[in-house]
Symmetry: C2
Subunit: 403 residues, 2 copies
């Protein structure tokens, strides 16, 4: 959503002290205490989540071009951004659709007009199955993944009751050990179970090799991903040999996009993090770029303010565990502040300490941090400030966070 | 907010498949895909945040009675729950007011009619200062804490421009090293700087001894907290000797409530976690209860569903790092499932593994987890299901999360 001067003025909430406004953002009112029409990065209330549009647009383009040149489709994963505005830009770049990890994500994407939504996670609650079926009843273009006979039974019952046809991918566990059925015969039997229900249709196979995506070193990663995805390719062949029309093999990640796109039988990539990048991905190393994986640029940061400078060896910023995800082993990095180390300072604060010779920020200084892991960090916020240089071009709701 | 059958029926969104409804919750629409009027715990969409009302009400009462008997006030901290409905219940139990860690928290509390709101964190952004001043201009009862001369300058300017009087506590750093000014002379000098501005008024002192709250073992904790709070008591005396009317010394935590309430000069407790409890607090040990701190009951859980059971040694639940905070060293505990261990399974999933002889849950089973650390876990959710036994009595918005 572009900020809108008329809407701001219409609220008439100026105080004697400051231009002070509310503007409606999607379905919620956001009060950032500032005129949103001329917002600069310097004035964004902290802690805040920022996306640098130049870097973001470059990432969107790079992945789209890679897939086009490789003759593969891509269905980027919204679990990374939970943001329909970003999904729209991925679709405009040529995506086949968008993946969702949760039913609320799928609903938010569909509500934003996204087609080709694929729910990649298993659902076993009847109310969630009903919500997905309701989307199909409304004529929306969605697919589901199944990895267990119980899911098939529940879906078949719901689809039959509602009188709708449901397209399914067989979720195959190729070593991730989190979701999906085992490859080969067990997957074929699940497909055969699906085929017994006339309202359900096998469209292909899905696999996520989470154990491959973050392997450090390109060669080691390539070996792991080829072994894993090979099981999925074989399973797809097995299904097709048995008479299924398994047209889709959806898989891959930001870490393996240029590996999986060379594997025969992989039809589309479920890449997510590439739009933002993070420290967790940077350290895996690139095909040609050495230790730092630099195929995509860091577009995502958390902006924080120095709010305490009592001690000579440290300052506090207003971004703690509620604002900066620290569930990985990596620390947030202060952009443009060499020699500063971010340390956890509880839920509300981060503590910045110094390497010898480094310069300590002053109270009121504003610091951008590159995040260790993009997905759970985005999940901490309800909106993302889309910036270009010093200008805030838009404020995008992270609409699929809720539900 | 109590769920309301009339409102549900008015939406008229029943589908052929399921009673399917939307109901308005605060300023946002929540679609949980179910009739919310007769909701049972069994039907809550997962992952979900739950508060057990019997345990919660017992905790609220226990703390209130302790403070009454000790002759101390209490101003519970909303950073724990970010939930105006909970704040209202703390006020009804006799709280002097409610503490807030952020400006959006303060705004949400004030909007809910809470009086005596104390912002315990430093703010240095002019837009945030303006938002707090705007609350005072509207006649709301709020106080701020300051720990640096720069905060005083900015507040003085804003208060003077707006023509309002602002009550302040001097935030004293008694060993936490995150916020506040050093005790003794530096704190006195800050008070004297405040006194130069006629719109600003020193009302007392605030301290948070975060380094004391989680000390394991009651005696060691008592020693740490007495040493720390002693500095704050001395500072308050120093201010009063210098002619200030420092009526308030606000501090303490759930871990030190029964220590700080015996220290002369401490006037009120800023307890937070006691309403929910968590594993991080349980392990600190109690005054009389041995290794497990059992003064307060575990009222907070995350409800999850088993969504994968492909392997004989593990199952996956639909609660990963986006749903269960794992930033502490402790693991979520599966209630009523002895011998199960929760392991991180990425952002979307948790992996439950088995101790020898333990029983693995089946697909579709629903499991409640006691959370390792309540504050950042609540921060992952927009609503909390308030349950009594198997019944959902209310759905409370975590309204102060946003902003």
């Amino acid at each position: 959503m572009r900020v809108n001067r008329r809407r701001f003025l219409a609220t008439g909430l100026a105080t004697s002290l400051l231009a002070y406004g509310e503007h409606v953002m999607s379905d919620q009112k956001i009060n950032i205490g500032l005129d949103p029409t001329d917002l600069t990065k310097q004035a964004i209330p902290t802690p805040a989540l920022l996306v640098d549009l130049d870097a973001f647009e470059s990432n969107v383009k790079t992945m789209a071009e890679h897939c086009r040149k490789s003759g593969r489709g891509f269905r980027p994963h919204a679990k990374t951004h939970k943001c329909p505005e970003i999904a729209k830009r991925q679709m405009a770049a040529g995506a086949l659709g968008i993946c969702a990890a949760t039913v609320p994500e799928a609903e938010a994407l569909v509500a934003a007009g996204i087609t080709g939504v694929l729910l990649t996670s298993p659902i076993i609650e009847t109310s969630k199955i009903a919500r997905m079926i309701a989307l199909i009843q409304q004529g929306k273009s969605v697919m589901l993944s199944v990895g267990h006979p119980r899911e098939v039974e529940l879906l078949a019952e719901a689809a039959s009751t509602a009188g709708v046809d449901v397209d399914l991918l067989v979720d195959v566990d190729i070593g991730d050990r989190r979701t999906g059925i085992l490859p080969g015969q067990p997957a074929l039997e699940l497909a055969q179970l699906i085929a017994k229900h006339k309202r359900l249709c096998v469209r292909g196979v899905q696999s996520y090799a989470g154990h491959a995506s973050h392997v450090v070193g390109f060669e080691a990663r390539e070996k792991t991903s080829r072994e894993a995805m090979g099981k999925s390719v074989e399973t797809r062949h097995l299904l097709n040999k048995a008479g299924f029309d398994a047209g889709i093999l959806s898989g891959g990640s930001t870490g393996t996009y240029n590996i999986d796109s060379t594997i025969d039988g992989v039809t589309e990539l479920q890449v997510g993090s590439y739009v933002f990048m993070d420290i967790d991905y940077r350290r895996i190393g690139g095909k040609t770029s050495g230790e730092n994986y630099s195929d995509f640029q860091h577009s995502l940061t958390v902006l924080a303010t120095v709010v305490n400078a009592t001690h000579p060896d440290r300052v506090s910023v207003d971004a703690g565990t509620k604002a900066l995800d620290t569930t990985t082993n990596w620390k947030p990095e202060a952009k443009g502040w060499p020699g500063l180390t971010y340390n956890r300072g509880g839920d509300e604060f981060g503590i910045l300490t110094l390497e010898p010779g480094a310069k300590l920020p002053r109270i009121g200084d504003r610091i951008e941090f590159i995040v260790p892991h993009c997905d759970p960090n985005v999940n901490l916020y309800d909106r993302i400030y889309a910036t270009r240089g010093d200008k805030v071009e838009a404020i995008w709701p992270i609409a699929a966070r809720r539900g």
